[in-house]
């Protein structure tokens, strides 16, 4: 036989699965525990959760382990698992102002009600490799804990962590363009239940952005501020902490608190350029970003994109638009799981399509020989040569 070189068959697929397990474990190191991953690789876990669109830290740690640290693969595993779960109900809108903040900064005002709280951040860290981390011991970890207990002792002040929102202040002074926001009564569009169609409601946009690939959002947002766009964002507020979640009581409708999420929330304002007919006065455009975990770059990128798209929608964009101003372009190409799946599908056999391509290529070659030097156009022109003499084109 030997006619079909790449006949996969079940055996090959099963063997490939075993080999993957082997490559993961062949280093001879002790197996990683999920607790270790969840607590020591918290950004990998957070990214798997926000791109996988499922808040489940322990399962996300499992996904990171199974994916051997590949963030798209880990989020894909979570996303596929999510699809098997029934959607029981929608929570009540979660209000960022109720977040128990571990970190909260504003770039718009130096002094904000409640003050700035740097919290856990590498922003001002000198990025030098710390060789001591390579030999970290239990004692080292204990020493860090003692240091932090010291902070708490000096800064303890009762209502720690709850802050008013900067954007609420701007809203109160009519400085921002109102955007459609969910009320307790309206259930947001759910792109897992309905295909995304355009034009789409803002809730669909926010959901799509919230589960998008971090790198994709970063690219689009960066392009819109660097030179292929007209975005001029100011970070009104970035906060990270624990956000309480409630559902409506099935009988009396009152809020029942069911737990909390570790989340990052970002709000940007960007200068309003022009006023469209029917608008009152120039105002800032809002942008909103949200991720599970401490996904600050994604939350900021999302907020910038939301604000650009809000501007486009309200006709307020006057400068260069760029790809980030095209809602379809951004939303349809930023889902990491869809994009990676389709890009990877080129690994599948394409024998049939390639055979068909080969035949078309052959015919195109023959035609190119026939039409060398625009012969066909000239032949057609010759048919009109006897008609009124072709005068020289004055404006050619």
């Amino acid at each position: 036989m030997g006619y079909i070189a790449a006949r996969g068959g079940t055996a090959a697929i099963l063997n490939a699965e075993v080999l993957v397990e082997h490559y993961r474990s062949r280093g001879g190191t002790p197996p990683l525990t999920l607790d270790q991953i969840q607590h020591q690789l918290r950004h990998a876990v957070g990214r798997a959760m926000h791109e996988g669109a499922l808040y489940a830290p322990h399962l996300a740690a499992l996904a990171v382990k199974q994916a051997e640290g590949d963030s798209i693969e880990a989020s894909f595993l979570l996303r596929a698992y999510r699809a098997t779960l029934p959607r029981v109900m929608a929570t009540l809108p979660a209000h960022g102002r109720l977040m128990q903040c571990a970190r909260r900064i504003s770039a718009a005002f130096r002094d904000i009600p409640g003050g700035q709280l740097l919290g856990p951040s590498t922003d001002y860290q000198i990025r030098l490799l710390r060789a001591t981390l390579a030999r970290e011991s239990d004692d080292d970890i204990a020493r860090i804990a003692t240091l932090v207990e010291g902070f708490a002792a000096t800064h303890a002040d009762g209502g720690i962590g709850h802050f008013p929102k900067v954007v609420d202040h701007l809203r109160a002074h009519q400085m921002v363009v109102p955007v459609p926001t969910a009320t307790d009564a309206t259930e947001p569009f759910d792109i897992t239940r309905q295909a995304l169609q355009f034009p789409c409601p803002r809730s669909a946009r926010l959901q799509a952005l919230a589960q998008a690939d971090t790198g994709s959002l970063l690219t689009y947002a960066y392009s819109s501020v660097r030179g292929y766009g007209d975005a001029h964002p100011t970070l009104a507020e970035l906060r990270y902490g624990h956000l309480p979640i409630a559902v409506a009581h099935p009988v009396d409708g009152s809020a029942v608190w069911i737990g909390e999420l570790e989340a990052t929330e970002c709000e940007t304002v960007s200068k309003a350029h022009s006023v469209r007919a029917g608008d009152a006065a120039p105002r800032f455009h809002l942008g909103y970003g949200f991720t599970y975990g401490q996904g600050e770059v994604k939350a900021i990128s999302m907020a910038i994109l939301d604000s650009v798209l809000n501007q486009v929608r309200s006709g307020g964009l006057s400068g260069e638009s760029g790809p980030a101003a095209d809602e379809e372009f951004v939303l349809l190409h930023s889902d990491g799981i869809e994009a990676s799946g389709f890009t990877a599908h080129y690994k599948l056999p394409h024998y049939v399509t390639f055979e068909a391509d080969l035949q078309v290529l052959e015919r195109a070659k023959r035609h190119a020989a026939t039409n060398a030097g625009g012969r066909l156009g000239r032949a057609l022109a010759a048919a009109f040569a006897n008609a009124a003499a072709d005068e020289e084109d004055g404006d050619a």
């Binding site: 006619y3 996969g8 295909a195 355009f198 394409h350 024998y351 195109a364």
Partner: protein
């Protein structure tokens, strides 16, 4: 943590019902793209999730399933999809086209004429031929609504002018029931005529693009073509399958090694079940 258990056909019943509703609408409007939510599945987007959702939504315990990729039952992806469907439904499997009630396929339509009691489910990567001339969905939706296919026709005209022929190898665009422009998926042109006035039902699922469409039995399917540059299927006179010897099926090329180690190229039927049946006839 306990082992995870899944429902019959993997997807929950509500989601399957949604797929079936979309299918009914698609059959009622031949060639029209019907949006559906499209669940995330444990196989990657772009690897047949649309076809898989249709198959899982339709398949009943008494069905007999065939899955092919490039016409081949043993191609890796066909094996993998069949494994998933079999594990979650327990339906009977076959490689024999005539025995199957549901056939899921990528890039081919079986050579044998399908019967009225058979359903062919095609996996769709790209959904809309208008994407070549209008990538924006909002505008393309309006173009379909108004049957505004002028630019698509110019695309075909330009293909003739630049390449001397209709320079489209696969995903050949067709007009269904004299109304909607439709993508035939990356089947070769050889397979396109099989869609026209067929006895079987053709269902098309695009998981990543979240659209379903259909060609019901006995529906007109007309490839875009010109009177003087007609649509033609691939055919090389004299070329035959190296295994069954037939000259009337779609052939693909393969490198084989001779006994002396030299490599040469041969052509064989891409539809392996059809080829096996031909070989069995003395």
């Amino acid at each position: 943590m306990h082992e995870l258990h899944y429902t019959y056909g993997l997807i929950d019943e509500d989601s399957k019902r949604e797929v079936r509703r979309a299918l009914l609408k698609a059959v009622a409007l031949p060639g029209h793209q019907v949006p559906f939510a499209s669940r995330d599945l444990p196989i990657a987007r772009g690897w047949g999730t649309g076809g898989l959702q249709i198959t899982l939504a339709l398949i009943a315990p008494e069905d007999v399933l065939k899955v092919i990729d490039q016409g081949d039952d043993e191609s890796v992806n066909a094996v993998n999809l069949r494994r998933l469907i079999a594990q979650t439904t327990g339906v009977s499997l076959t490689a024999v086209t005539a025995d199957a009630t549901v056939i899921q396929t990528r890039h081919r339509i079986p050579e044998e004429r399908l019967r009225a009691d058979q359903i062919l489910v095609l996996q769709v990567p790209m959904v809309d031929p208008l994407r070549w001339v209008e990538p924006n969905l909002e505008r393309a939706t309006v173009m379909h609504g108004e049957a505004d296919y002028g630019r698509m026709w110019v695309y075909m005209y330009e293909s003739v002018v630049r390449a001397g022929d209709l320079r489209i190898a696969t995903q050949y665009p067709v007009i269904v029931a004299d109304r909607y422009l439709m993508d035939t998926t990356p089947i070769p042109r050889w397979d396109v005529p099989k869609l026209h006035q067929a006895d079987a039902l053709f269902l098309f699922g695009a998981g990543r693009e979240k659209r379903i469409y259909a060609v019901p039995p006995h529906t007109s399917v007309a490839p875009l073509e010109f009177e003087d540059v007609p649509f033609r299927v691939e055919y090389t006179p004299g070329q035959r399958c190296a295994r069954c010897g037939c000259g009337d099926s779609f052939l693909t090329s393969h490198a084989v090694s001779d006994a002396d180690g030299a490599t040469r190229w041969v052509t064989t039927c891409s539809d392996t079940s059809f080829c096996a049946a031909r070989q069995a006839v003395p």
